[in-house]
Symmetry: C2
Subunit: 536 residues, 2 copies
C-alpha cells in the first residue's frame, strides 16, 4: 500500500489516496482523508534513448537511472546492432532482463546506416520481421533513411510494412524534412519525430499528425526552443555517463516545468503518452496496470524519494535497492595488429602536396572541408602541428582488413594520438594522431582492450575499456565517468581544447551529416554522397 | 482535392488548406492563401451503437446516416447475435460491406444475456476467438455481465483474455458499479463505459482511467448531466428510425457545443478519440490516413454539405450518392402456430385468485410488481380491462416450443393485442393483449411475417415486417418510420398512451433490469434473480 497525493492524469485533480498493489499490478486506488507531503506519480518513461551512448550496459544503466525515477525506457539498440546484429540486440535484452527497470526496444531500421562503410552486421527485412515478433520490441526504430522513404526504396518500405503487419508503430527521424516530402514520409505511417530543432519544423510535423518528441539529452537540447510549441514526449535520445549521475527523465521534467510547461502536461509526456503510444501497459495509475510508481517531494523539483517497479520498492532516496551483474560480454573485434606504415599517406604526384582536410566544429556533428598544403618527408605526407593538421584514420574491425587515412583540423594535439571504437554508425576504430607510430600504438592497444577509448601520450597509455561490443563498459556509471574525466584531462594536456574530444571524434565517421567525413572505405563527401580523394 | 478551413485537432488551429487525396488516402495537406466559408472535419464516428435498434439493415442504416456526416461506426451486433449467432454477425458484416460507410464491429460478449431465457445462439469463448480474428472486429463488445467479472466467472474472464490475446480493447457496461468492485472490473482491462448516468459515477470511473462514452441516443440521454464532467466519446448507443431521419452524430455534436463543450474537444470525441482507441486508421486528417472527410457550414450547427469516404464523394446536401441493396435475408423463426388456449392461465387453487402483475413505468426500463385479484371465468384468469391488468406472454421462437404467460399493467389497451419479435435480449416473441384470441392471432401473424411488430384491433391486422432476424427491415428509414408511426397511431386508438409501446414492451423481457420481468421460461424476479409463480 502506497499513500500520498495522486496527480490524476485523467481528471487533472490532486487528492490524497492509498494505492493498493497486488501481484505487481495496481489493484485499487482509494481516496483517503489524510494529509500527505509527497506526490505519487506513474514511473517515468524515456520514450527514446540509445543506451549505448551512456557507455553502460542496460543493467548498469538501470542502476543509475532507476533512483532518478525512471521505470521504463524505449531503447533503440541501433549502435550495438551495427556491431553485432540480432545477437547484439539479444545481448541487450538479456542483460536488461537482470534488473527491474523495464526495457522496451525498437528494431533498428537502418543497419548499416549507409552502403559506404563496413558494419558488423546487416539487418534486412528478415531480421526485422524476426525482431518485431518479440513482445518487448515495441516499434520499428527511427527511420533515419528518409531519402529512402521519399524515394520509395523497396527494402525501406518493406521494413515499414512489417511493422504494420505486427501492429507496431514506426519511429521517425527526419531533420528539416518538409512539404510534399514530409507528407510522403508521414504517409507511410511513420508517427514520431525527435529531430525537430526549430519551432516551425515542429509545427509543420505536428499539423500533419506526427507526435513530437522534445529532446533534451546530453548532446541535442531542444526544450528551450520547442516547449511552447507543445510536444507529446520528453526524451533524452543520448545521455552520457556523467550526466546520468545527476539525473535522467526527472531532470528533463524539472527543466520543462521551469520553462513553463504545465506540470500535469509535462508528466503526461513522460508517462501516459509514451505508454499509450507504445502500448506498454504502464505509465498510468489505474487498476490492472503495472504498479510502476514514483514518489516525489513536489511538482517543481521532482526530487525522487521512492521508486516502485512491478510493485516492488527498487530505489529509495537516490539509491538502487537491487544488485547488478551484467550479462556475459559480447563483442566483435577481428583485426590484425597495425604497423605505423599503415597510417602513412603517399602523395600520388610528387609535385602536388594539396590535401582535403576535415575541419571539426566544436559542439557540432557538422564538419567543413578545406584545402591544405603539406610537407612531404621520406615520400609521405607529414602532419602539420603548427597549422593543426593532424592525421585521422578509420580501421575496420569486422575481419575485412580495410582502413582509410585522411587529415583533420581542430583537435590541436601537440603530441600522441587518441583512438576509439565508438565511431558512428558502424563503430570501426577511429584514430586521430600526431604521428603514425602513436596512432598505430593507440589502435593496437584498443584492439588488445577489445574496445574503448585510448590516449597515447609520451609513450604512456591511458584507456577506458568498453568490452561490450566496443561500446559499453561493465563498470558502474560512477566508475566510467571517473575514468572518462581522467582521459579528458590527459587529452587536454596534449593540447586539445574540445569539450568532448572522443564524442566529437565518434561523429567524424557519421556519413549522413555534412560535409567531409571518413569511413573505413575512404574520405566521404556528404553533399555529393560519394567518396573523394584525400589528395586534391 | 478538397478545399476549406481545416480544424487542426493536433494544434487546435483553424486555417485554409487544400487536402490532396490519392488511392482513398489523404496524400498531403497544404496551407493555401484563400478564403473559405466551409470547414473540413474528419468524418464522424459513432463509437458505440447497436444498428439493430434502428430496425434497419446496416446498408439501410448507412443510407440515412452518411448524409449526416457519419463515416464510421463501431457497432455491437449483440441483438442479432442472440438470434442467429456468428452467422447473424456475418450477415451484418456482409450487408455492411455493400455500402461506403465503414462498419467496425465488436464481438458480443454476453450471448445469451442470462441463463434464464432461450436465445437463438450461444457465443462461447470459441466463437469469440473466431470473431476477434477478423480485422473489422475491433473490440470485445460491452461486458454487461459485471457480476460475472467481479465474481471471476471463468468463461467471462476467458473472453476478456482472448481480447487481450488479439490486442483488442474490451468495452464496458457497468451502470453504478463502484468502489472495490469497479476497481476489479477496470483491473481486468475493461476500458470504456457508456452507462454513466450521473456525474459522480462518471468521475469515479474516469479517475480510474476508464474512457467515458457520453451517450445521447433515442432512449438514454446523458449529455446534459455529463458534459461538464468531460468524456472521451460521444455515442448514440441506440437510435430509432425516425430520429435517424433528422440526424446522427452531427446532432449530438451540435447539442454538445450548445451545452458548452469546446467545439474542438467535441469534434475529437467523435473523430480522433474513437479512431485511436479502436485503431481505425481514420478519424484524423493526416497523410496516409483514410480520406474520410466531412464539409460543414460552421462549428455551431454542423450542417453537413459534403461527405467523403475513402476519397469518394458519397453524400451531398443531405442526399446519399450510393445505391442500397440489402444482402440476402437471414432469419430464425421456428415455432408452431399458437392457439388461444395457449395464452390461458389456470388458477392452481380455485379459491385463490391473487396474481403477480408487471407494472410498466413510462419511459423506463425498470418495472415494479404488484398483486391483483382477478376474476376466474371458465376455469381461467380473465384480463381486467377496468383495472388495466392485461395478459402478457413470451413465445420462444428457436424451435424449443416454450412459452410463458403473465400479467401486465400500464398498457391500458381496451381491445386487441400487440406483439413483437424485438424483445431484449433473446428476441423471442412478446405479446400483450386483452384476449387470448387476439394474442394468438398477433403471434401467428408475426410468425407468418417472419418477424416484426403487429397490432390486432377489431380483427384488423396492422404490421411492420422485420424479416431480418425478426429485428430489421430491408426498407429505408423513411418507410420504416412511416409504418412505425402508423402502428403507433393504431395502438394509441386502442387505448394505449405510452410514447413507444413496442419499445417499452421489448424491455419487458430484459431480465437484468429490475423488478419483475418475463422470459419464455417464466415470470422472473430480478432482485432475487430467480423465477417466481404468476399466482401469488
Amino acid at each position: 500500500m502506497i499513500k500520498g497525493n495522486i496527480i490524476n492524469l485523467f481528471t487533472e485533480e490532486i487528492y490524497p489516496v492509498e494505492v493498493e498493489i497486488q501481484g505487481g499490478l495496481v489493484k485499487c486506488i482509494r481516496e483517503v482523508n489524510e494529509e500527505f507531503e509527497n506526490y505519487i506519480l506513474p514511473g517515468f518513461i524515456d520514450a527514446h534513448i540509445h543506451i549505448e551512448s551512456s557507455m553502460l550496459t542496460p543493467s548498469r544503466f538501470a542502476e543509475v537511472v532507476v533512483p532518478h525515477g525512471t521505470t521504463a525506457v524505449v531503447a533503440d539498440p541501433h549502435e550495438i546492432a551495427n556491431v553485432l546484429g540480432v545477437s547484439g540486440i539479444k545481448y541487450m535484452m538479456k542483460d536488461a532482463s537482470t534488473v527491474p527497470l523495464r526495457f522496451f526496444f525498437t528494431a533498428p531500421s537502418c543497419v548499416p546506416a549507409t552502403p559506404f562503410e563496413t558494419s558488423g552486421a546487416v539487418l534486412g527485412p528478415e531480421e526485422i520481421d524476426e525482431l518485431l515478433q518479440l513482445d518487448d520490441m515495441v516499434a520499428l526504430g527511427e527511420m533515419m533513411n528518409f531519402p529512402g522513404v521519399v524515394g520509395e526504396d523497396p527494402v525501406v518500405l518493406e521494413k515499414i510494412r512489417l511493422a504494420q503487419k505486427h501492429s507496431k508503430p514506426v519511429d521517425g527521424h527526419a531533420p528539416l524534412l518538409s512539404g510534399a516530402d514530409l507528407c510522403k514520409y508521414v504517409g507511410t505511417g511513420i508517427s514520431t519525430d525527435h529531430e525537430c530543432s526549430v519551432r516551425d519544423e515542429a509545427l509543420e510535423k505536428k499539423r500533419l499528425g506526427m507526435k513530437i518528441m522534445i529532446r533534451e539529452g546530453s548532446s541535442a537540447k531542444n526544450l528551450e526552443e520547442l516547449w511552447k510549441m507543445g510536444g507529446d514526449f520528453l526524451v533524452s535520445d543520448d545521455r552520457h555517463p556523467e550526466d546520468l549521475l545527476h539525473g535522467h527523465v526527472n531532470q528533463i521534467l524539472k527543466k520543462a516545468v521551469e520553462w513553463g510547461v504545465d506540470p500535469v502536461e509535462a508528466i503526461r509526456m513522460v508517462t501516459v503518452n509514451p505508454a499509450n503510444h507504445y502500448n506498454l501497459h504502464s505509465g498510468l495509475i489505474s487498476p490492472g496496470k503495472m504498479a510502476d510508481l514514483v514518489v516525489v517531494d513536489d511538482l517543481e523539483n521532482f526530487n525522487v524519494k521512492k521508486v516502485i517497479i512491478n510493485g516492488e520498492l527498487v530505489a529509495r532516496e537516490g539509491k538502487a535497492l537491487f544488485n547488478v551483474k551484467p550479462a556475459k560480454i559480447k563483442n566483435s573485434f577481428n583485426l590484425k595488429n597495425t604497423s605505423p606504415v599503415d597510417f602513412e599517406i603517399n602523395p600520388t604526384r610528387t609535385n602536388n602536396a594539396n590535401v582535403r582536410v576535415i575541419k571539426v566544429i566544436e559542439g557540432q556533428l557538422l564538419t567543413e572541408e578545406f584545402k591544405a598544403n603539406l610537407e612531404i618527408v621520406d615520400g609521405v605526407f607529414k602532419a602539420d602541428l603548427e597549422q593543426d593538421i593532424l592525421k585521422i584514420a578509420v580501421v575496420e574491425r569486422y575481419g575485412h582488413n580495410k582502413m582509410a587515412n585522411g587529415f583533420v583540423n581542430g583537435y590541436n594535439l601537440k603530441k600522441g594520438a587518441i583512438a576509439s571504437s565508438v565511431a558512428h554508425d558502424s563503430h570501426n576504430i577511429i584514430v586521430i594522431g600526431t604521428s603514425s607510430k602513436d596512432m598505430s600504438l593507440a589502435v593496437n592497444t584498443l584492439k588488445n582492450n577489445q574496445g574503448g577509448l585510448v590516449a597515447v601520450c609520451d609513450e604512456n597509455i591511458y584507456s577506458l575499456k568498453l568490452p561490450v561490443a566496443g561500446l559499453m563498459s561493465v563498470m558502474s556509471a560512477g566508475e566510467v565517468s571517473a575514468q572518462m574525466n581522467k582521459l579528458h584531462k590527459v587529452v587536454n594536456s596534449m593540447g586539445c581544447e574540445l569539450a568532448s574530444p572522443f564524442m566529437t571524434m565518434s561523429f567524424m565517421a557519421l556519413l549522413v551529416i555534412p560535409q567531409l567525413k571518413i569511413s573505413d572505405q575512404g574520405l566521404f563527401d556528404v553533399e555529393s554522397f560519394q567518396f573523394v580523394d584525400v589528395i586534391k
